[in-house]
């Protein structure tokens, strides 16, 4: 009992720390990727290749003046960002990153807690997320913020339906609501994943689209459309309160990506079994990256790169070597696959943001109700029919 609490506390701490770092660096990745899409270098000044930029941002946000505008509804104004970030982080707690591991004699799951109804829990929590935005918009006592809040609540309610419907199809195939067992049913190789095994291409795409809308990302970022609404619901927020919304958005992105991975892409399951060498993929990747970095370091573009690139290369090589250690392989490999899949979807998020324009509001709602929802329902019906016929 006591060890359970201790382990849980440790896990909470680890996940929280990693998550916060990831949130900060996701921002860096996003800026970098978009910059490269737009053929510019992106953050470059703070640290090598701007690697320390997130740290600088954090310092900036913390030390900024925390301004509370007059005529706001103070309790709700303070409550909203807190609520948004809480709900965003809460859903991470049931997401499993990998199978059981054994550390110092204690067996535990790479997951904070498993619920029988994990999927429902995430749906519930994400449906609560709308309050953060709506209340922020209302409490700010600002018409742009109010409009942003209204838009976002309507948008999130609307897109929650196709999202749920899209989730329901793989659940029918896997026949469980526990995220852990969900992965268990997809074990094996690529062809056991719900995406391929269950022909869930439609619901995967619907899920991603609805996920984009749920997280208020481009092309569905109407609540914060800056050319219409200044900055939407967080117009009146500054400093850490602003950062809370910001982090909530990125945390939600991670949740959606993880959900997509767990529901459709087999979670931490490797694309092909280990006996065919899937275990060496990370080694090859990291070693290759390290070698490329070293080669670039030999003829650097800038003078500084003479030192930074070889350091990065060596780090990559060490990571590659770590993947070869049998002791850590059992938990590091699943983690790698999970993060690789989630990362790929996160990259898609960023990619879309870099390339697509924004919807008009009526198009957005029409798209949800007239196209996405019927598509998801039809797919669900078809899946249900097939499942009923096969079983």
């Amino acid at each position: 009992m006591d060890s359970f609490i201790v382990i849980s506390l440790i896990k909470t701490f680890v996940i929280f720390a990693v998550l916060m770092t990831t949130l900060a660096y996701l921002q860096w990745v996003e800026r970098k990727v978009i910059a490269h899409i737009q053929v510019r270098p992106g953050p470059y000044r703070v640290g090598p290749h701007g690697l320390l930029q997130p740290l600088a941002d954090v310092i900036k946000l913390i030390t900024k003046e925390d301004l509370t505008p007059p005529y706001v509804n103070k309790p709700l104004y303070l409550f909203a960002p807190f609520f948004a970030i809480t709900m965003a982080l809460l859903s991470i707690s049931v997401i499993p990153f990998g199978p059981t591991i054994e550390v110092a004699g204690y067996r535990t799951w790479m997951q904070l807690t498993d619920l029988n109804i994990g999927v429902l829990f995430i749906l519930a929590v994400s449906s609560m997320g709308v309050y953060g935005i709506a209340l922020a918009g209302w409490a700010s006592n600002n018409k742009y913020a109010l409009l942003g809040g209204l838009r976002s609540s309507a948008q999130m309610i609307s897109y929650e339906l196709p999202l749920s419907m899209a989730i329901a199809s793989p659940l029918l195939i896997s026949n469980t609501l526990s995220l852990r067992r969900l992965v268990g049913t997809q074990a094996g190789n690529l062809w056991h994943w719900n995406l391929f095994h269950g022909w869930q291409y439609v619901s995967f795409i619907v899920f991603l689209i609805a996920g984009f809308a749920e997280t208020n990302r481009v092309p569905f970022d109407l609540p914060e459309a800056e050319n219409e609404l200044v900055a939407g619901y967080h117009t009146e927020y500054s400093s850490m309160k602003f950062a809370s919304f910001f982090m909530a958005e990125y945390a939600n992105m991670i949740t959606v990506s993880s959900m997509a991975t767990l529901l459709f892409l087999g979670g931490w399951v490797a694309p092909w079994p280990e006996q065919y060498g899937s275990g060496f993929v990370p080694v090859v990747l990291f070693a290759g990256a390290g070698i490329i970095a070293l080669m670039h370091g030999l003829n650097p573009a800038r003078k500084r790169d003479q030192y930074t690139l070889p350091v990065v290369g060596v780090i990559f090589l060490i990571v590659a070597a770590v993947f070869l250690l049998p002791v850590v392989q059992s938990w590091l490999l699943p983690l790698f696959w999970f993060l690789a899949k989630t990362g790929a979807i996160l990259f898609a998020f960023i990619w879309v943001r870099g390339t697509l324009p924004r919807f008009r509001y009526d198009q957005l709602m029409g798209f949800a109700w007239k196209f996405l929802f019927p598509t998801a329902v039809l797919n669900l019906l078809a899946t249900a029919l097939v499942v009923a016929l096969v079983s």
Binding site: N73, L115, I117, L120, L123, S127, M128, L135, L150
Partner: protein, 166 residues
């Protein structure tokens, strides 16, 4: 542990419920009501009703109350004005409420003197599979009728809320 859990969330629920009634501003009431619903969801978990707890949050807190908040924001409803009065309500209201509470409590105490104890995990039949099984066998007809009801409600809401028919 269970007692602490119950007491904490029961107190939150009661306080939030009082806040629902006491607050003059609808949005404060709405937020308090969400609080009530959230704590009730935890109590449902304690009673082994996992699915109902999730549905409580998704349907009540996540959909119904969002609608409320949405409407309040849309109408920009301010604090209520104390205009007009109900003689009946002010005269009979308080005694009736006290009587109601007293009677209900008396009933509960009288009928459940040696009540069963509730502890976490005491009832595990409230998962989604059990609910689904009951829903699509014993309660199939009510379920279908409810779905028709929802359809009618959607149509009704659309008809009521749309702009003038031109």
């Amino acid at each position: 542990m269970d007692v602490i859990l119950f007491l904490v969330f029961a107190i939150i629920a009661v306080l939030a419920a009082i806040n629902v009634v006491v607050q003059t501003h609808p949005i404060a009431s709405a937020v308090s009501l969400i609080g009530v619903m959230g704590s009730l969801a935890v109590l449902y978990l304690l009673l082994g009703a996992e699915f109902i707890a999730a549905a409580q949050v998704i349907v009540y807190a996540g959909a119904v109350m969002v609608l409320f908040v949405f409407v309040i924001m849309l109408l920009n409803a301010g604090a209520e004005v104390r205009k007009g009065r109900s003689f009946m309500a002010s005269l009979l209201g308080a005694p009736v409420l006290i009587a109601l509470l007293a009677l209900l409590a008396w009933f509960v105490e009288r009928i459940y003197p040696e009540s069963v104890g509730v502890h976490f995990g005491g009832f595990t039949g409230g998962g989604p599979d059990a609910i689904g099984r009951a829903l699509f066998t014993t309660y199939l007809l009510p379920f279908e009728i409810t779905s028709i009801l929802v359809l009618i409600a959607i149509l009704g809401a659309v008809v009521l809320a749309r702009k003038e028919i031109d």
